[in-house]
């Protein structure tokens, strides 16, 4: 196959190989590479924040195994006639160990932690790269013929153990990499739709559409690496869903190859009353039913004007009340996110060195104004970041409306810069976990959705539960336990938690980590939160599925699987 992301990405961490956080010889934080706004910058306050938050010292390092030990990779279990027939059909395939390891995991903590220690578990036996829909049809036919297990692979950004090969799988496991199916097949300007092969990566899709003056507006935090097919398979959600909608609102038509054949609708009508929407069997099926090959989705003309913004609130409660009011009035900007105090401080730790005395003087002045003049308590205040889009006039009007609401809840406008930095951090924050893992710190994020009236209670209880569980399990230093509200809906919100701790002195840090995450999820469910807002279930959250959708609900899903894939060719064992 052509060059793939594998060539420019880390094999045992997040993102591009050239971009990483490190502490330089002077002990200053630094972000390497050239790809991001933060790249090449010095982050003077990172070290202090890091040491104070986690109780770590830069003396105590836990470096990762530098290179993959190929001999540790189990030899492939190949079905020769299957491989032969693939070759005849002209489908690219490889059992090169690096490629197999690269596609054997997502980005759950335990997956990355194991790789860093050089531990390799069950990996796919073969990787195949279909070029188009018909290639996929061929592959699925052959898989059925030879009873081979297929696992679709898009961008590899799963955080639900969805890409882990089931240990109990004895058949040959074939990773079906969709990365070569990445073409935009047509753009329909009359209906504002685009027809795309499902392997396309988010940032490529957006960039290519932008060249034609359009966008989908679908921007999940993982969009640099995640694929369209993956979005469909997990019911993804994008940062700007308030304007463009989540994946289920964006999709007009889906083509999927299953062991039973190809499933698709006969037309592109914008809405239909033809029984339960078959798209909803596909969206969220997490690769258990087949491979999504082509998708028609809505596009919009590129917005004329974009404006970032931020608001400081005296405390989290006021912030949530403001977001609730914004949702009530249905005037949410393209994106509105509320960070709690810990995240606000974290954001500060990532501030690059300021270039002029004047800027730092201004910063000091702002801080003085907010904390002394306005009486905000530095350990309670929190920040909302905003992104407005549209034509200039409307954006300014909209902006005023939102700031007026914020003022009723004690919110103060805190500038475009803070807002923009907040969104930039979204993309670099994932790199930070690797830095932590260099210094005895492990962590993860997880999410949920919850009715408005329970947002505050859920946030407080889950954060507290994490702290207590860590303490009970012998974690020496209080964990970093923080949350933010990342999406607003009419009837509730999406909440994102970050949680990390210093594991020095723990015999089995992964186990402790997994138990705490488990308890945190229990707490979420007990507080009326959902099992997942957009990460999906995978294998990580399977145990709660029955509780989440009822026995009958689970049975319905199982019977669909039974019909579509009776021999469990798509055997990643996610969801059910």
């Amino acid at each position: 196959p052509k060059a793939t992301l594998q060539d420019i990405m880390k094999w045992n961490g997040w993102g591009y190989s050239d971009s990483r956080f490190l502490f330089n010889k002077k002990g200053q934080g630094e972000f390497t590479g050239k790809r991001y706004r933060l790249s090449g910058m010095i982050l003077p306050s990172l070290k202090d924040w890091f040491e104070a938050t986690f109780g770590t010292s830069l003396q105590h390092k836990t470096p990762a195994t530098p290179t993959l030990n190929v001999s540790a990779v189990p030899p492939p279990n190949l079905v020769e006639p299957f491989v032969e027939e693939l070759k005849v059909a002209g489908v690219a395939a490889s059992h090169d160990p690096e490629g197999r390891v690269f596609r054997s995991h997502g980005h759950c903590l335990h997956e990355i932690f194991a790789l860093r220690e050089g531990r390799i578990g069950r990996v796919p036996d073969l990787v195949v790269w279909p070029n188009c829909h018909n290639d996929v049809v061929k592959i699925v036919e052959l898989a059925c013929k030879y009873n081979v297990c297929l696992m679709p692979y898009g961008g590899g950004t799963s955080v639900s153990s969805a890409l882990e090969c089931p240990l109990e799988e004895t058949r040959s496991v074939v990773s079906l990499d969709t990365s070569q199916m990445n073409r935009i097949l047509w753009i329909d300007e009359k209906n504002l739709t685009v027809h795309v092969e499902a392997g396309i990566i988010g940032q490529d899709l957006e960039r290519q559409l932008n060249e034609s003056g359009y966008c989908t507006g679908h921007e999940p935090d993982s969009m640099e690496f995640s694929s369209l097919g993956g979005w469909v398979a997990t019911r993804a959600s994008g940062m700007k869903k308030n304007i463009y909608g989540n994946i289920e609102d964006l999709v007009v038509h889906i083509k999927m190859v299953t062991p039973r054949g190809v499933i698709e609708k006969s037309c592109q009508g914008p809405r239909m009353s033809t029984g339960p929407d078959i798209h909803h069997f596909i969206m969220g099926s997490e690769g258990t039913l087949g491979v999504v090959t082509e998708v028609t989705m809505k596009i919009r003309p590129l917005p004329e004007y974009q404006k970032y913004g931020s608001i400081v609130f005296p405390n989290f409660q006021q912030g949530v009340s403001c977001l609730r009011e914004v949702a009530r009035q249905r005037c949410a900007p393209a994106s509105i996110r509320l960070m709690d105090n810990e995240q606000f401080q974290f954001g500060h730790a990532l501030k690059p060195q300021v270039s002029s005395i004047f800027t730092s003087f201004l910063d000091g002045l702002k801080k003085f104004y907010i904390t002394k003049f306005k009486g905000f308590e530095p350990h309670h205040l929190c920040v909302a970041t905003l992104l407005f889009e549209g034509d200039r006039e409307k954006v300014l009007q909209h902006e005023k409306q939102v700031y007026d609401i914020a003022a009723k809840f004690g919110g103060l406008a805190a500038g475009e810069d803070n807002g923009q930095r907040g969104y930039m951090l979204t993309f670099v924050i994932a790199y930070l976990r690797d830095l932590g893992m260099d210094y005895y710190v492990i962590g993860e994020s997880f999410e949920t959705s919850v009715p408005w009236d329970r947002v505050l209670d859920l946030c407080r209880n889950v954060k507290e539960r994490i702290v207590r569980e860590c303490k009970e399990r012998g974690v020496q230093f209080p964990p970093f336990s923080t949350c933010r509200v990342t999406q607003t809906y009419d009837a509730g919100a999406c909440v994102y938690f970050y949680f990390a701790f210093n594991y020095r002195g723990l015999a089995d840090p992964l186990h402790v980590y997994e138990r705490v995450e488990h308890e945190a999820r229990e707490e979420i469910l007990a507080n009326g939160g959902s099992l997942s807002h957009h990460h999906g279930v995978g294998k990580l959250r399977k145990e709660w599925m029955r509780e989440a959708v009822s026995t009958v609900g689970l049975g319905m899903l199982q019977s669909v699987k039974e019909y579509v894939d009776p021999n469990n060719i798509f055997g990643n064992r996610n969801l059910l």
């Binding site: 329970r454 007990a526 507080n527 009326g528």
Partner: protein, 653 residues
């Protein structure tokens, strides 16, 4: 079983060191104590809202809006006004100035009333810690009107947030005093709320709002009322549900229930209590009545002990016992009865707290002496009484009692001074100890004679009751052993369970903890060396036969009062419902002669006698009343107390 069981098995009470808070008052100035800097550490929640802001939160709550909207037939505005009026009547108005005023007055009063007020400081330290983490619910037992004053006084002295206290509405009626209490943090609850939905809604929302905001501990008596018999009462669930709800709904992360055990060497109201038990109506609480009661101040009430127990985490209690997702599909503010699951949980939690109160209670030597005196109501020699009290002390300590027995004084002196405090009940003359008879003209009728003696017997019984919880479980095992042919543990357990169900309203048992109770009883007996246990058998030991007999005798009056004799010697059982639901087949077996339907008797909430014509039984098991005749039950006047239970052949055991 959880935590309670664990502490049950190490039956010896962990030592607590008490500090007398009056000592400093006697040395220092009351004024400067009252005016000193009072800055309790901030609670877990937001800073305290003003009383009016709190009331506003309650009135504007979604819960109240639901209830107001559901009141049909009246204009909404009217209902809202009614709700506001109820809230005005109810709400506290805590002001530090009044706490200071009260602090000053109480310093004066308490130093006169008590020799010492003993407080365990380690408990207060734990309490202080708890207030900073989660909302705290202070749950004292209730033995005297002054209980809550003492608690607030201690909190003030130790710089802890002054609790908001659930008080009965009669207190509010006292002019001036009611207002002082209100400003000291009391809020007032009507008795017999019945089905007044609006009142329930206002009250429960008020309590929940205080718990949720967590600015001050909430204090209430889980027993519901003052125990007239000084015996723990089975908990009342109304307030318990209200305080637990914020946790069950996820509105707070956790709650700390802090059991507080208050015990008095001599209870201020002792004679009042005895008269109430004899059917003299409780005087109405009035300021004038209070002033009249000044003579109370002239007497010596010895020491009092306040033991602050370990905070119990509701979250820990709830683990695995209750699904917290029960409100996931309905608005949490929707009015509704607690689910069965919640009710069972609340009941278990409340019972647990009462048990912890019992465990924390500090007993005076007199409680033990009273137990013995009661078994010899016709008088006994002092030296024998002292000898037996010492013997009983040994058993009580083995069974985990907390005793206030100064080690630096000779035992005889400890006992006699403890008894001397109770001159109104017992006299020691010429080496003999007698129960005191009330003075008055020669009795005209037998009835009057009984009445005069009764008061001393009842007071004595009350002090015995204070110590009862120590012996209950081992005594029940002892009785069960005596009624089983052979020594099979299984059989003994069955009989034990019968007694446990029978006494469900008499003693406090945590629902569903039968095996643990049995275990506690057995290990208590083993501690005393009274039984030897093998795999399946429980045998009395020869050496400690006396202990078994004695323990059985403690329960005897209770067993006998449950056999209320009717006209045709038909056995009627109080709280029969309990027995029958567990032992339906047993009942016929045990009472072959029973022709009547079981009768369940109403227990009056105020504790004094309702003028009902038929049989009725009081909380105090030593007397029963039939057709307005009062007799002291022979059970407590038995001339041969130190013998095995003499139980009628037709009885269950």
């Amino acid at each position: 079983g959880g935590h309670l069981l664990q502490s049950a098995q190490s039956s010896r009470a962990e030592p607590a060191s008490f500090v007398d808070i009056l000592e400093e008052r006697r040395r220092g100035s009351d004024i400067s104590h009252a005016l000193r800097a009072f800055s309790p550490p901030p609670g877990c929640g937001a800073p305290p809202p003003s009383p009016s802001a709190l009331n506003k939160m309650v009135l504007e709550s979604q819960h109240l809006r639901y209830v107001v909207a559901a009141e049909s037939g009246k204009p909404q505005a009217r209902v809202r006004e009614e709700a506001a009026a109820l809230l005005d009547e109810m709400s506290q108005n805590l002001q530090v100035t009044f706490i200071r005023l009260l602090g000053f007055a109480l310093s004066k009063i308490f130093t006169r009333l008590f020799r010492r007020i003993q407080v365990n400081e380690d408990g207060l330290a734990r309490l202080q810690q708890a207030t900073q983490e989660h909302p705290v619910i202070l749950m004292p037992n209730h033995r005297s009107y002054v209980d809550f004053l003492v608690l607030s006084y201690i909190m003030f002295t130790y710089d802890l947030s002054i609790p908001v206290i659930a008080a009965g509405i009669p207190l509010m009626g006292m002019s001036l005093i009611g207002e002082i209490f209100r400003r000291s943090g009391a809020f007032f609850i009507r008795r017999a709320i019945g089905s007044d939905k609006l009142y329930w809604a206002v009250l429960s929302e008020y309590v929940r709002t205080i718990v949720r905001t967590g600015f001050a501990p909430v204090e209430f008596y889980v027993e519901g009322l003052r125990s007239r018999t000084l015996k723990s009462l089975t908990p009342k669930m109304g307030m318990m549900h209200m305080v637990l709800e914020p946790f069950l709904k996820g509105e707070v992360y956790d709650l700390s229930l802090v059991p507080v055990s208050i015990s008095y060497d001599r209870v201020l109201e002792e004679s009042l209590l005895a008269h109430e038990l004899l059917g003299v109506p409780k005087p109405r609480e009035t300021t004038r009545g209070l002033l009249k009661a000044r003579r109370v101040l002239e007497q010596d009430y010895g020491s009092m002990h306040v033991y602050f127990g370990n905070p119990v985490s509701v979250r820990e209690l709830a683990k695995g016992r209750i699904g917290r997702g029960q409100y996931n599909l309905v608005p949490r503010d929707l009015p509704g009865r607690p689910s069965e699951e919640s009710q069972a949980f609340a009941s278990a939690a409340a019972h647990r707290v009462v048990r912890l109160q019992e465990r924390g209670t500090v007993l005076s030597p007199w409680s033990l002496t009273a137990l013995l005196v009661l078994q010899r109501p016709d008088g006994t020699r002092w030296d024998l009484l002292a000898r037996d009290t010492l013997w009983l002390r040994g058993i009580a300590l083995q069974l985990g009692a907390r005793l206030d027995w100064p080690a630096d004084l000779p035992d005889l002196e400890v006992m006699s001074s403890s008894m001397a405090l109770h001159r109104s009940v017992v006299r020691c003359e010429e080496g003999c100890v007698w129960l005191v008879e009330e003075a008055g003209p020669e009795p005209v009728t037998q009835e009057e004679g009984v009445f005069r003696r009764a008061s001393a017997v009842l007071m004595c019984a009350s002090y015995r009751n204070q110590a009862l919880h120590v012996f209950t479980r081992p005594a029940m095992v002892a009785v069960a052993m005596g009624t089983v042919p052979g020594h099979s543990q299984e059989d003994i357990y069955r009989h034990f369970c019968f007694l446990r169900d029978l006494f469900a309203n008499e003693f406090v048992f945590v629902p569903g903890c039968g095996p643990q109770d049995f275990e506690e009883g057995c290990s208590g007996l083993q501690q005393c060396g009274a039984v030897s246990a093998t795999d399946h058998e429980l045998k009395p030991t020869e050496e400690e036969r006396d202990t078994i007999v004695f323990l059985s005798a403690i329960l005897e009056p209770f067993i006998e009062t449950y056999q209320v004799t009717g006209d045709n010697c038909t056995l009627l059982y109080f709280s029969l419902r309990n027995c029958l639901s567990f032992f339906p087949s047993h009942f016929r077996e045990i009472f072959p002669n029973s022709t009547r339907n079981p009768v369940t008797l109403r227990r009056d909430t105020e504790g004094y006698l309702p003028p009902t014509p038929t049989c009725c039984k009081l909380q105090c098991p030593n007397i029963y009343f039939r057709q307005s005749h009062c007799r002291i039950h022979p059970g407590s006047c038995s001339p041969t107390p130190l013998c095995g239970p003499q139980v009628a052949t037709s009885s269950p055991i």
